[in-house]
Every structure is written in structure tokens, then in C-alpha cells.
Amino acid sequence: MSVLADLALALSGGDVEVVDLTHTLDPDFPVIVLPPEFGQCARFRMEEISAYDHRGPSWKWHDISMSEHTGTHFDAPSHWISGRNVPHGSVDEIPPSAFVGPVCVIDCSEGAAGDEDYELTPDVIEAWEARHGRIPEDAWVLMRTDWSKRTGAAYINLREDGAHSPGPTPAAIRLLVEERNIRGFGTETVGTDAGQGSHYDPPFPAHHTLHGAGKYGLQCLKGLDRLPPTGAVLMAAPLKIRNGTGSPLRVLALIEKDSA
């Protein structure tokens, strides 16, 4: 049998499961908050066009609006100034093969539970590799923190000195990009960078380094605790928006039964 026929059989038989890693698009789901003089990320909004009524007797539909970076979303290289000249840097130009691929999940949930500014460091990555093997080229790397189990104010965790949430150090993200040549990096928090990521050198190292090298970002993921450290396949295809710097999307993973 062909590979795809095998896969179809495994999917229908339950040997391969489809896991949803996406938050529901909800007007009250937190978005990144920038200083108020900067432009802001639009919240998700939905307006009824008709609902089986005088505006359209037999059908119901909505207009929706949001930012490219609202909810569970994909960051393209052109999102960051470091990636502004990267070829195929916008979501409509990225080859579709980039949207399906292997994924490694680094479990930082224990550290993040005790330290809201928990850092993913090269040591953490190397310790993970000692147990699970070297991160393969062109893989997605997801930082599991279980942060997606928080809601509302605890999720965005804004204080007078800014947001506090876990993320990678500049050295960690350089290791992933320059030495492992990953495809992209994803988190459960509102950005690929830590809440206090503006205070690193460079500021926002994940955005700076990933997108400067033509890599992708995924954020506001949920349910990473259902993924195995290795062996899952991630499917993350952004909307095909002309010159789009990102897109809300449905992120799915294929896992082999009982592998998580």
C-alpha cells in the first residue's frame, strides 16, 4: 500500500490521531499589548450579516475582522524588520511544503510553573537532545509551557513593568536557527518571545533571529501537552493573504496513538 493509503487507514482506525493546537477565536482572547502610542493589534470581532431573518431568510453568516496576529497565529519573516528582505517572506509566498512537517516539543512546563519569566536556554535544549536525540534540520520546535492553561489576565500577565511570560534567550534561539537550522519556533504564549523579551540583546530575539533567517513563528498554541517530544507531524497553513506578515490559522498535529 502507498504511504498515504496507510496514513488514511491509520487515521480512520485511530492509530494516528489528529490533535487541535488552536485557541478559539474569541473577542475576549488576549492579544499583545504595545505602548499606547503605537498601533495596536485588532481584537477578533464578529458581526452578524443575517440569521435566517429579513436580512437573509434562509441563511446565517457573519463578517469577521481581526489582525494578522490575533489568536493562534503564524508569523512570516516579513513580520520583523530583520526579515523584510527575506525571499518568499510573506504568507502568500511561502512554499506550501513549509506548512506540514516534523515537530519537536521541548517540555518547559515544570520550569514555567515555578517561574513566570522562565527562560529556554541552550542548556535546556542540549539536555532535551541528550534524552530525545538531536533536533533534525527543518523541524518545528515548540516550547511547551502549559501557559495555554492560563486564561484572561493570568495569560497575558501584564504588570507595571510589562508582561511576564516564558520564552527563549538570544543564545537559545541562535542555537536553534544557526546550528540546528529549524523551520520555525512556536510557543503557547502571546508571542514567540518572552514577556520581558524587549530587554534582551537583541530585543525580541526570537522575532529578530527567526525571521532574519527566513524562519517562521507560531504563537498562542494550546494543548502541547498532548504531543510527544518527537515523532508528531505539524500542520500549520496560514491564510493566503497578499503580502501578509502573518495569519490566524488552525494548527493541527498528527500523533501516533499513545505516543504522547
Binding site: G39, R43, A153
Partner: protein, 415 residues
């Protein structure tokens, strides 16, 4: 003294709601001068420009010299209550529900004798002062009041019909994050409001002052984001039937003109000032309109807090001015739509406000406390327009004098 208004008991759920009724609405165009003056709390009558005689009732030609030049002027409101009577039966649906109703004749020192509504504390033959008020139909009427404040004077049932008094009423303030919110809550509670509900957008985003507002006795924070239709509809579904006064203090403002301005900020200004008002009106308006005759705590008023530059743009805040002009226009439609319920729509026009987004604007600037005082005064006097701060009043006067001159001055070139 008037009998003090006691806090109403809970409504019997088996009693049908009283259908709103309005007092007689028809007026001549000349009589509308009385309404215009009452809308901003002034007592004005026609004065003949030729012979100086004061006119009542309003007319098109002077009763003494037939001159047709009869400008409305603020007039000494003091006179003597010559006679009074109490109406105990009326075929009019509005008065039928509200009898007994005291009326009388007052001879003004300024000349005319006028049939007016009479406050319960006025004594026959005594000196009284007339006040010009809007009735439930939104038309100007005159009422005689005692010369001096009497105990519980505002609780006189006839006077209460001519106000939108916050006493014993349940009030929704739409935006907790504004500087005006705590000041409004304090002022309204001091004025006897039964309950203050305050809308809070994006509870996930912390803001200073939240704990203090939430800890105030009689104040409840409820989720409400005027830029989100679902949020507005959800809250209206929960509290729409017990919102007696809605105060829309939601505001988004960023400095900046048109060229080089930020479309995102401009859109947000419109989302809050214009579409926010629209969403609130569509969600809360119908239930409020239906409760216009619901006893002591009937639905009674809708308040918008607008920039005085709704009249004429301040180019330094160009898109914000435009959004407020749109809101002002919509408030006029809202007034028409709420009129069958007898509700008052009060617009409080503020000059530049003392906040982060007016740092570069020189004083005088109005504080949240000043706006709150204007709102409470406007409700207690049943007004449709209040101008808060010297800048707002100056703009109003110049706009009334000559809108084109004001526009030219505001858009540069004034010395």
C-alpha cells in the same frame, strides 16, 4: 415640604408594565423657543425688540405694537402665584395616570400672567420663581417653584416628572477605564442613585484604579466592550431591563490631524464614539424606551459625553472631532427614537480633558470630576445639553454666533 420619595419596593412580576404615555406634544414654531431654552436650563421669553414688552404665550407678533421682531431673552423668573387648582381627572392618558396635578396662574414681575405647573410647596399668593423644563414629550413647559429650597423639594412628583433625577435609579456607566468613571460613580451615589453598574472592557488587561472603583459600595463592575457587538448584546440581555439611566462615557482619543494620521486610531475613535453609541442604543434602547413610565425608577435618561469639537473640528484632533460629530448626529436620532418612551437624551459637551492625550494642550482643561458634576446637574434639571468647561462654553457661543467664523479660527489664522 414634599413627602420624601422612599426607595421603591421590588416590582410585582405579575403586574403589567405601564405603557409610556406623553403629555401633549404639539407646539407652534414660535413656541419652540421655550423648548430650546429649557433644553439647556435657561428661563427665556420673547421680548419685543421695538417696545420691550415681554410676551406670553409665544407668538409671531407683539401683543402691544405688532412688531414681528421678538427675540428670546433670558428673563427674570420671579412672580406671584395668583391662583391655583388641582386637576383630579383628565382624559389625557399621560395626566390620567398622574393626577392629582396642581396648576396655577403666576403673574411675572416682568409682565405677563402665565398658567403653569405648580410645585406642592408653593403657597397661594406667595412669591415664586418659574423654571423652564422639558416635559416627558421633550417640550418646554413652565413650573412655579418656591423661592427658597424646601425639604425634599426634588421629590415633588410633578417636578420629578420634569427631571431625570438619579435618586433611587439604577445607572450603567459604560467604560470603567475612563477618568470620568470613578467621579461619576461618586457623584451619582451622592445624588441618591440606587445602584451603579460600570462596564469594563478586556478584563484581562489590568488598569490603575480598578480595585478602588470595584471596592466602592453600590458599584458593580460588569464586562462590557462597546466595540464588540456580542459583548454589548450580552450585557443588555442581563441588565437591559433594569437600566434606568445609561451614561456612555466610553472614549478613545489620539492626538493628530488627517494627513499623516493613523487609520487604525481613526477607526478606533469611530468604533468607540460612533459605532459604540450605535451598538449600545440598539441593544439597550428598546427596553429602556418600554420602561419610560415604570414608576419611581422608570427608565429616564441616556447621557453621552462628547467633545465640544463635535460642533466644529479641532484639526489637532481631527479624526477624534469627526467621530464626535458623527456621535452627535446619531444622538439626535436616538433622541427621536427614545421620545415615545419619554426618555431624555443628555449630551454633555466637554472641552479639552485633563488626561494623557491632551498633554500638549494648554489649560483650562476639564477633569473627570467636572464632567461628573455636569452630568448630575444635567440629569437633576432634565436637560438635553450641558457645556462643561470654559472652552466648551466659548465654542458654543462662537458657533452660535457664526459657525463659519469659528471654523476659520479653529483651522488656523486667528490672531
Amino acid at each position: 415640604m414634599s413627602d420624601p420619595l422612599s426607595r421603591p419596593s421590588k416590582t410585582n412580576p405579575q403586574t403589567p408594565l405601564r405603557v409610556p404615555a406623553l403629555p401633549p406634544e404639539a407646539r407652534s414654531r414660535a413656541a419652540m423657543g421655550l423648548t430650546a431654552a429649557a433644553a439647556e436650563g435657561r428661563f427665556a421669553l420673547q421680548h419685543c425688540a421695538e417696545c420691550g414688552r415681554v410676551q406670553y404665550p409665544p407668538r409671531d407678533a407683539c401683543h402691544a405694537c405688532l412688531s414681528v421682531d421678538l427675540p428670546w431673552r433670558d428673563t427674570d423668573p420671579v412672580g406671584t402665584l395668583l391662583a391655583d387648582t388641582v386637576v383630579r381627572a383628565s382624559p389625557n392618558l399621560y395626566f390620567r395616570d398622574r393626577v392629582p396635578w396642581r396648576t396655577g396662574t403666576v403673574r411675572l414681575d416682568a409682565g405677563p400672567s402665565i398658567v403653569v405647573h405648580v410645585h406642592g410647596d408653593c403657597e397661594r399668593g406667595a412669591r415664586v420663581r418659574l423654571t423652564s423644563r422639558l416635559d416627558r414629550a421633550g417640550q418646554g413647559v413652565l413650573m412655579a417653584l418656591p423661592m427658597e429650597e424646601t425639604p425634599n423639594m426634588a421629590d415633588d412628583p410633578q417636578l420629578r416628572e420634569l427631571t431625570a433625577d438619579p435618586k433611587h435609579r439604577r445607572i450603567l456607566i459604560t467604560d470603567a477605564r475612563q477618568d470620568t468613571a470613578p467621579a461619576l460613580a461618586r457623584a451619582l451615589l451622592a445624588a441618591g442613585a440606587a445602584e451603579i453598574m460600570v462596564g469594563e472592557a478586556e478584563g484581562w488587561r489590568p488598569w490603575p484604579g480598578r480595585e478602588r472603583l470595584a471596592a466602592m459600595e453600590g458599584v458593580t463592575l460588569l464586562p462590557l466592550d462597546v466595540t464588540d457587538t456580542a459583548s454589548v448584546e450580552t450585557l443588555a440581555g442581563e441588565i437591559g431591563g433594569k437600566t434606568d439611566i445609561l451614561i456612555n462615557n466610553a472614549r478613545f482619543v489620539r492626538p493628530g490631524g488627517l494627513l499623516g494620521g493613523d487609520p487604525g486610531f481613526a477607526r478606533q475613535e469611530m468604533e468607540v464614539a460612533y459605532f459604540g453609541l450605535m451598538r449600545l442604543a440598539q441593544a439597550f434602547g428598546p427596553a429602556m424606551r418600554a420602561r419610560g413610565s415604570d414608576g419611581v425608577r422608570s427608565a429616564v435618561a441616556w447621557v453621552n459625553i462628547l467633545s465640544a469639537h463635535a460642533l466644529s473640528s479641532d484639526p489637532a484632533y481631527g479624526t477624534f472631532s469627526a467621530a464626535n460629530a458623527a456621535a452627535l448626529s446619531l444622538s439626535q436620532t436616538l433622541r427621536a427614537d427614545l421620545r415615545p418612551g419619554g426618555l431624555r437624551v443628555l449630551n454633555v459637551f466637554a472641552g479639552p480633558t485633563e488626561d494623557d492625550w491632551h498633554q500638549a494642550v494648554p489649560p483650562p482643561k476639564v477633569t473627570g470630576g467636572a464632567i461628573a458634576r455636569s452630568v448630575v446637574e444635567g440629569l437633576q434639571d432634565g436637560l438635553e445639553e450641558v457645556w462643561c468647561g470654559d472652552v466648551a462654553r466659548d465654542l458654543r457661543d462662537r458657533w452660535r454666533q457664526n459657525p463659519k467664523v469659528l471654523e476659520r479660527e479653529l483651522t488656523g489664522g486667528a490672531t
